[in-house]
């Protein structure tokens, strides 16, 4: 046989596992995209939002008369005009029965509670006309004291964010393993411990900073409304908007066209979406709102924002005995969609991969006069992973142990899976040792340790450190019953349907709505394998509630694990339906049919075959099909997982720290992730890269900084430091594969892994480089100033010198001009 003949007789290669180039790219690399802001409708009006320049004040008067008379302004609305119909931005996660939710108006009526809160809206015939008139709206504020610092906010006699409430605490959430029956008594564990290490760690506020600014267009058609929005969650948004505004759900269609990134930042029911719908209804005209970057940074939700008090107990040999965590979690001024749930989700991940016998978690959700926090890539799990991976290093130092040996001594062994943790989660599969060994090789660990030693001994001004992060995360959100037990307001299933077209082409409808992940490609691969049809014959439809009526959308590394599984289940149903038709057409018993590579064949009867694509035509014509079935092989499926999936990995960072200047530089970054079965290695690698960039950015660059008056001083990309290509290293990545037992694909989820794992690896590396100089903590981000101060002045480097940022020097934004106090506007240095 020649090679050619051999290849021809081989079964077609499986699509799953192939690095398919993405179907999505064709339109994106040629500029033929459908971003929401591209949308132009006849007679469309443009909205511009007047935003509060102060953090906390009573509105004592609004004069819109000048704005109303400005050229090409159609109307101006204040909160008072919309007070009766705006409802409250919904919060879907009341984490405790007595959680306090003050309500969240989309536009302020009597009081503003953070800088950037909407106070009026100008409607203009052009965006420029509306924007010009924003400056003509005159608002009188009676300033109230801003509540900004969480520790001060929960102190006795603190000023209140919401003066109708008794305190600034929204809720007190407790998980106690002893009480839950998943572990021993934590207080006793600490009382008996030989060694206890305690730290106060800070998770700074971050801004998701998706590249496409938020945008929404609403078109009224009679009593129906179509909304295009740059959202991650068209399905959730539809339900919530119906509940908030009273527009009946069946009169509302939401379309998420091409969406330019989200990272949790577009997992929201935005005030501006509510307002656009209300104004389109009131005006009977299509309206558009697209934010500026400054508006995005100031008024779209932030992420993180925690003060973490963490205690770890162990014996002198390094066997961990207990973990105790107390959090102050910054809610901001209001509760948005899952604001209170983010730290609660993290509650279950603080024990990490370690076998703690005892664990207690407490969290206070705290109101401050800042924009609300909510989901940002990882949502609760990066915070937990940071704390546990940092404290493991601190314990290693205390015990004089190698940090990797300490981890190894306490982590779950490969043969112990499935393993139920002290937090009550059942970790599904993995091998931490294998991933770690591979990562050590990838980094060139021994050689770098030797170099570190040489630099120490020679007193090199540039010191080297190596940081570990051996992490796991809970993905595949989520089993609906578990969500119910956590008081979450919805389920975690996902829906899919498959339509077999007469020409044999396949439409796959998914409820999981992508915004850069590559669903169209990966879902095509899944379906090509399941149905035995060419990859190119599959079209994936998503993001439009009229096309894809049921869905829970994309977040929490859930799309492939839950949404992909729904697609596979739908495909199995298509095959089952087609089997009946095939048996009829081939005049054979169903039991005698084999299905492979898209064809049904009769066992033992060569040549008796019919393809699934031919069957699609046969049921379209419907001239000849079994009497007891419908003439269709289309199918839909809803998948609700029974457990989370638990990707894990070992991330290693080698960091150079210049002790003279405080500059840090990542010398090498290596990571090995186990995300279960890999459907598309190209996409998986890309997701890891992107996650690493954001996790490293938390460690080194990004922080949403507020001044003493509550002004966001990082209100543009001049000051909020999203890293560029020059700021990031090359990443050495690899995978181990332990298939997830909880879904037929075997996938665990990859979207958040890099972001969750990398931050502590980077900080641990920097500390490892300078610990011998007496440094035991440096606040994130590790700016040169902070690193230098920690080395030369002790402590954790201190807060960022906000007065020195560009926002003060010259680039004062419109919203802060003229309202800062003398002290803040002078910025100290001017």
């Amino acid at each position: 046989m020649t090679v050619t003949e051999d290849a021809a007789t081989l079964a077609p290669a499986k699509e799953v596992g192939q690095p398919r180039r993405r179907k999505e790219d064709a339109r994106l690399i040629t500029g033929r995209t459908t971003w929401t802001d591209n949308m132009v409708l006849p007679g469309m009006l443009h909205l511009a939002v007047v935003r509060s320049p102060v953090a906390h004040a009573r509105i004592t008067g609004i004069d819109v008369s000048a704005a109303q008379q400005a050229p090409n302004v159609v109307a101006v609305f204040t909160g008072r005009d919309l007070a009766e119909e705006q409802g409250s931005i919904p919060c879907a996660w009341p984490v405790t029965p007595d959680m306090v939710n003050p309500g969240h108006p989309s536009i302020a009526v009597d009081q503003v509670n953070h800088v950037g809160e909407a106070v009026a809206i100008v409607v203009g015939r052009s965006k420029a006309a509306a924007t010009d008139a924003v400056e003509l709206v005159d608002v009188d504020y009676e300033i109230l004291p801003p509540v900004l610092d969480m520790e001060a906010a929960v102190a006795e006699g603190a000023d209140l964010v919401h003066d109708q409430l008794e305190s600034n605490t929204s809720y007190h959430f407790v998980f106690d393993a002893g009480e839950a029956g998943t572990g021993a008594d934590t207080e006793q564990a600490f009382a008996d411990a030989e060694v206890v290490v305690s730290r106060r760690l800070v998770q700074q506020r971050l801004i998701p900073a998706f590249m496409e600014p938020r945008s929404v267009v609403v078109q009224p058609q009679g009593d129906n409304f179509t909304m295009w929005s740059a959202t991650q969650i068209p399905h959730v948004l539809r339900v919530m908007l119906a509940m908030v505004t009273g527009v009946p759900e069946h009169k509302l269609r939401i379309i998420a066209p091409d969406v330019g990134g989200g990272f949790g930042g577009k997992l929201q029911v935005n005030p501006e979406e509510v307002l656009a719908l209300l104004l389109a209804r009131r005006l009977g005209k299509p309206v558009k709102w697209t934010e500026t970057r400054s508006e995005s940074l100031m008024a779209a939700h932030h992420g993180r924002g925690q003060v973490q008090f963490i205690d770890i107990a162990s014996d002198r040999e390094g066997n961990v005995k207990g973990l105790r965590v107390r959090l102050l979690a910054d809610m901001g001024a209001y509760l948005r969609l899952i604001t209170p749930g983010v730290p609660a989700l993290g509650a279950f991940m603080f024990p990490g991969i370690y076998k703690f016998p005892a664990y207690r978690f407490e969290c206070d959700g705290v109101f401050t006069n800042k924009v609300p926090t909510d989901a940002y890539r990882g949502a609760g799990r990066p915070e937990a992973t940071f704390a546990i991976e940092r404290i493991m290093d601190e314990l290693a130092v205390e015990l004089g142990m190698d940090p990797l040996e300490l981890r190894r001594k306490n982590w779950i062994q490969a043969e112990e899976f499935p393993f139920t943790t002290v937090a009550g989660l059942e970790y599904d599969s993995g091998d931490y040792e294998q991933a770690t060994q591979k990562a050590l090789e990838l980094l060139g660990y021994d050689e770098l340790r030797a170099e570190q030693q040489r630099r120490r001994e020679s007193g090199d001004p540039v010191q080297l450190g190596i940081g570990f992060s051996t992490f796991t995360e809970m993905c595949g959100l989520a089993p609906s019953r578990v969500l119910g037990s956590l008081s979450y307001g919805a389920g975690g299933w996902e829906s899919a349907s498959i339509r077999m077209l007469p020409t044999g082409k396949v439409e796959v409808v998914t409820g999981s709505t992508p915004h850069g992940q590559g669903h169209e490609t990966a879902w095509s691969q899944l379906v090509a394998d399941q149905l035995g049809v060419p990859f190119e014959d599959v079209e994936v439809l998503h993001g439009d509630t009229a096309v894809s009526p049921r869905g829970m959308d994309t977040y929490g590394s859930r799309s492939l694990v839950v949404g992909g599984t729904a697609v596979v289940k739908a495909a199995e149903k298509v095959v089952a339906k087609a089997r009946k038709v095939a048996a009829h057409l081939l005049e054979a018993s169903e039991d005698d049919l084999e299905f492979a590579d898209g064809k049904f064949s009769v066992r033992g009867t060569p040549g008796a075959t019919v393809g699934i694509q031919e069957i699609a035509l046969a049921v379209f014509a419907a001239h000849n099909y079994p009497e007891d079935v419908e003439p269709s092989i289309d199918a839909e499926a809803t998948f609700d997982p029974v457990n989370f999936s638990f990707p894990h990995g070992t991330h290693l960072c080698a960091m150079e720290v210049d002790t003279d200047t405080g500059m840090v530089k990542i010398r090498k970054y290596a990571c090995v992730d186990d995300v279960g079965t890999v459907v598309n290695p190209l996409i998986v690698e890309g997701q890891v890269h992107g996650g690493l960039a954001q996790g490293i950015a938390q460690a080194l660059y990004e922080e949403a900084v507020y001044d003493a008056d509550g002004n966001l001083t990082t209100g543009s990309f001049v000051d909020y430091l999203v890293p560029s290509a020059a700021d990031l290293p090359h990443f050495d990545t690899a995978n181990t594969v332990h298939a997830a037992p909880g879904n037929p694909i075997g996938a665990k989820g990859v979207g958040e892994a890099g972001c969750i794992a990398s931050t502590p690896a980077v900080v641990n590396a920097a500390l490892d480089a300078v610990r011998h100089l007496g440094v035991s903590d440096i606040l994130m981000p590790l700016t040169p100033e902070r690193v230098w101060r920690a080395i030369h002045q002790g402590g954790d480097g201190g807060d960022r010198a906000t007065a020195g940022t560009n926002a003060y020097g010259g680039a004062q934004t419109e919203s802060t001009a003229g309202v800062s106090t003398p002290a803040s506007s002078l910025g100290g240095d001017r």
Binding site: A26, A725, L728
Partner: protein
């Protein structure tokens, strides 16, 4: 209003614009060239990058009137025809091949900046690429595959085989 005459992606346009109109707004709102996008207000992100007389500029920092008499090329004009695969610019092709994009919002600007970079430096090192595109922000990719894409395009445009650090078994 001021009259301007501009060639954009090979077509000539004559329009009256407000003097304050930014080039990016002229492209998007007057000409419907929505392939070029706005990502920030401060010229930091580079999503709006186009070529003005062959040089890359951030079209949010150029007034439309400054483009009077000039040739503008946007992402919609860099491939030789309508964007069918065979006609893509080598940089567009490389971004696809090397998975140099995810959400794709920064991609038009990133591609325009990369084309200009390769014009000035046909065989850049990794460091030169990273520094060459540092005016363009991407939030999705971590840049590694963008760097690979530029390396691959450099190889193809100079006629040498792909010199990029390809994806090993995945290439």
């Amino acid at each position: 209003m001021t009259s301007i005459n501009v060639r954009v992606d090979g077509m000539s346009y004559s329009d009256d614009v407000e003097p304050r109109t930014l080039l990016v707004h002229y492209l998007r709102e007057t000409l419907g060239k929505v392939g070029t996008v706005v990502g920030c207000d401060t010229s930091n992100c580079g999503a709006c990058t186009v070529h003005l007389d062959g040089e890359s500029v951030k079209s949010c920092t150029v007034f439309a009137v400054q483009a009077d008499g000039c040739e503008v090329t946007t992402i919609e004009g860099v491939s030789s025809s309508d964007g069918t695969d065979g006609a893509l610019h080598p940089v567009q092709k490389a971004f696809h091949e090397m998975h140099g994009l995810q959400c794709g919002f920064c991609t038009p600007g990133m591609i325009m900046a990369s084309i200009d970079l390769l014009k000035e430096n046909p065989s850049p090192s990794e460091t030169e690429i990273r520094e060459g595109i540092e005016g363009n922000l991407c939030r999705c990719t971590g840049y590694q595959n963008i760097v690979r894409a530029v390396q691959q395009a450099a190889g193809e445009m100079s006629g040498s085989p792909a010199g990029a650090d390809t994806l090993g078994a995945q290439a």
